[in-house]
């Protein structure tokens, strides 16, 4: 019996060892696509770079860029091992490995609302100034400031995330509203009343569980949730004014609360797809949601600049985003930087970002490139002049302030301020004062 007992213990241990030995057993033959580590076929001299992301499309993009990099740089071959993890957890995993100083990747994606966590204390990321600075004039620099601390740039975004408004032309036509006449938020409210009266439909939907309705409005109104030095300005006069305006739209039934609470809810897609509201304002990257989940609106949606509170204010802002960073742990920082610059700062890289990912790339000089007019699923849905339109807004993209308190302030906006002001219809000033006070 003793033998049997020991035998089984030994068996378990042996099994465990065999499993940890599996660690070296790669899956080289398979047609590896997103989610599976891809090992781009290369010579034995190639330098291994590990990349973690939370979006398989980002993985595919980097893999394709690695292939063309290797063609162009036969002396500096890269073996890119990219892996896609679930969204929240990709960030946790990166944090854990950076905190413990070991086990992290060379390159990683960090979503903009999470970047504050990585800039706390001494950032465990490599500064990217030497690759960013030569390209400064061609880039929408406000997008790089989001990933900066003390003058050091730590991340490069995929897109500008220009804020726009999507109108349902069919509904506007029924109501006799011309979207080009809508310049200010007052015009928007008037048009909204007309739409409501003629069609019985609300002009728009507002989020009670997220920040994409409120944030662009306040940024374009010259305010923000944080100031440049990272102090909370959530309850500024401009913010109160914007929230009061939203509350008025809700009270007048010009706006309804987004079904499901957010513009990414399954319930919401169905509602909009059936022509539930005449417009919605979201960033450019929301185009993908239309093409994928609201295909009945194909050809009916048009993209326009955001209304303003007073003439002369900016008509767009850079919303959301994901920065690619290089870790301090990386043993090949120089090569990783060169490759990152090639993938996300070069002209060809930025054109690929539009073609493969459907994002408005951060190099504004490519927006006018003929390649941006080539047909794809977005031009099929919204028409081919997307970037002609965007070029007109180039100088009106208001920057956002991102800081260490961004995760906390977003949380207060998502869980408290929006719901209390728009669903419970509490006093906007009181709501924002309380939300601001709750942030430590």
């Amino acid at each position: 019996m003793k033998k049997r007992l020991y035998g089984s213990l030994a068996l378990t241990l042996a099994a465990a060892m065999a499993l940890s030995a599996c660690g070296n057993n790669g899956n080289n033959g398979a047609d590896a696509s997103a989610g599976t580590s891809s090992k781009t076929a290369t010579s034995s001299k190639a330098t291994k770079l590990v990349f973690w992301t939370f979006n398989e499309l980002h993985q595919k993009f980097f893999e394709s860029m690695a292939v063309s990099w290797n063609k162009a740089n036969p002396n500096e071959q890269i073996k890119l091992e990219a892996t896609t993890f679930p969204y929240d957890d990709a960030h946790n995993k990166l944090l854990v490995s950076l905190q413990s100083g070991k086990g992290g990747p060379d390159l990683a994606d960090i979503e903009i609302s999470k970047i504050g966590n990585y800039l706390k204390g001494e950032p465990q990321l490599a500064p990217l100034n030497d690759i960013v600075e030569p390209e400064k004039d061609n880039l929408v620099m406000s997008r790089l400031d989001n990933y900066a601390k003390d003058g050091q740039y730590y991340g490069i975004d995929y897109h500008v995330g220009a804020q726009v408004i999507y109108y349902n032309k069919e509904i506007l036509d029924q109501a006799g509203v011309n979207p080009d006449d809508i310049v200010t938020w007052d015009d928007y409210e008037k048009a909204g009343k007309q739409v409501l009266e003629k069609t019985g439909k609300p002009m728009t939907t507002v989020e009670t569980g997220d920040q994409w309705t409120f944030w662009p409005m306040v940024v374009q109104h010259g305010s923000d949730f944080l100031d440049k030095s990272g102090n909370v300005t959530l309850n500024s006069a401009e913010n109160v004014e914007a929230l009061a305006y939203l509350q008025k739209l809700v009270k007048e039934k010009v706006a309804v609360l987004a079904p499901g609470g957010i513009h990414h809810a399954e319930e919401y897609y169905g509602f909009m797809n059936k022509g539930g509201a005449a417009s919605v304002w979201m960033p450019m990257w929301y185009m993908g949601r239309f093409t994928d989940y609201m295909q009945d609106l194909k050809g009916k949606m048009i993209i326009k600049p955001m209304p303003v509170f007073k003439q002369g204010e900016m008509r767009s802002s850079g919303m959301g985003g994901t920065g690619t960073v290089i870790t301090k742990q990386s043993k090949n920082q120089e090569l990783a930087k060169k490759f990152l610059a090639y993938a996300k700062l070069s002209k060809e890289g930025n054109i690929e970002i539009w073609k493969q990912l459907g994002f408005d790339p951060i190099r504004s000089d490519v927006w006018t490139d003929p390649a941006m007019q080539e047909p794809n699923k977005y031009t099929d849905y919204f028409g081919k002049d997307i970037f002609t339109f965007l070029s007109g807004l180039k100088s009106e993209i208001a920057p956002t302030n991102i800081g260490e308190k961004t995760p906390a302030v977003s949380d207060a906006v998502k869980t408290k301020a929006m719901f209390q002001a728009l669903s419970e219809l509490k006093d906007p000033k009181q709501v924002l004062d309380e939300a601001a006070a709750s942030i430590k």
């Binding site: 398979a30 696509s33 993890f85 679930p86 995993k93 169905g270 993908g288």
Partner: protein, 280 residues
């Protein structure tokens, strides 16, 4: 007993469970139905539970088995390996500990039991960072060993086996000793068969837990070809849109292995199978 009353009771019982089964299976029905439709239909008009035969096809499934979704098969295989090894190890080791705690009075028993409860209740989120550092020290990062070893002696089944064994007659212990069995012989030859229903329950529950485990494997595993199924499926949901093609059909197929485990092990619960042994 009057036959009429029995049959009407049987019918009521049947009807009650039929309703419960419908409620329990409804989300799965939605899932299974959606898996046979083009993925974009899922959200087109809100919750769509109409059959729509004209839309049904095996396309999503044939996609999963195609080279384009090779990763799905990797996830499946990895989850299967981890689950099998974990469950066997866990049942063996945890049943020993649980039995030891139930059957013997020894110094430190209560303290040890409090530690079992303590380890059971530690939120993984809380010890993630220090445990990760240990995995680096043991060179277990990015290996299935790192996924399995810290949790293979699992407090929850230890507690269950302890409680189950506590409900068994202690006479067997004395009888075994009189028959000349060693202490370990009593466990393996007498109590393991008596605890068959407990092993059945724990085989189901622990293989399920391992099949679904998410937080810790995600921290330990780095390479895409080592990820497990729940991690892979969750990575298809992103702030920039979801890959429903693989997600929906993949979630349906993910049910199969543990369902088979359930169907196999539930025979241990069929009335009368083990009662004879307990009668003594």
């Amino acid at each position: 007993m009057p036959a009429k009353k029995t049959s009407s009771q049987t019918f009521l019982l049947f009807a009650l469970f039929a309703v419960l089964a419908v409620l329990a299976l409804f989300p799965f029905y939605c899932l299974a139905l959606a898996s046979f439709k083009p993925s974009k239909e899922l959200l087109r008009y809100g919750l769509n539970i109409k059959l729509q035969p004209e839309l049904l096809s095996f396309h999503n499934y044939s996609f999963i088995f195609s080279a384009g979704a090779a990763k799905y098969m990797d996830w499946y295989k990895n989850s299967a390996i981890v689950t099998v090894v974990y469950t066997i190890g866990c049942l063996l080791l945890s049943s020993m500990v649980g039995y030891g705690l139930a059957m013997y009075r020894f110094v430190g028993r209560n303290v040890l039991f409090v530690f079992v409860l303590l380890v059971m209740m530690i939120p993984v989120e809380m010890i993630m960072l220090p445990l990760y550092k240990q995995m680096i020290a043991f060179n277990l990062i990015d290996s299935f060993g790192g996924v399995i070893l810290p949790f293979v002696v699992s407090p929850l089944p230890i507690f269950f086996f302890r409680q189950f064994a506590a409900g068994l007659p202690r006479d067997f212990l004395d009888a075994g000793r009189i028959d000349g069995c060693t202490e370990y012989g009593i466990f393996f030859k007498i109590f393991v068969p008596l605890m068959a229903p407990a092993f059945g329950a724990m085989a189901i529950v622990q293989s399920l837990a391992s099949w679904n485990s998410f937080v810790w494997p995600l921290i330990v595993l780095n390479s895409g070809d080592k990820l497990t199924l729940p991690i892979g499926l969750a990575s298809l949901v992103t702030p920039y849109g979801n890959n429903y093609d693989i997600l929906i059909a993949g979630s349906v197929l993910a049910i199969v292995p543990i369902m088979l485990v359930f169907i196999f092990f539930q025979r241990f619960f069929v009335s009368g199978l083990t009662v004879g042994g307990v009668k003594g």
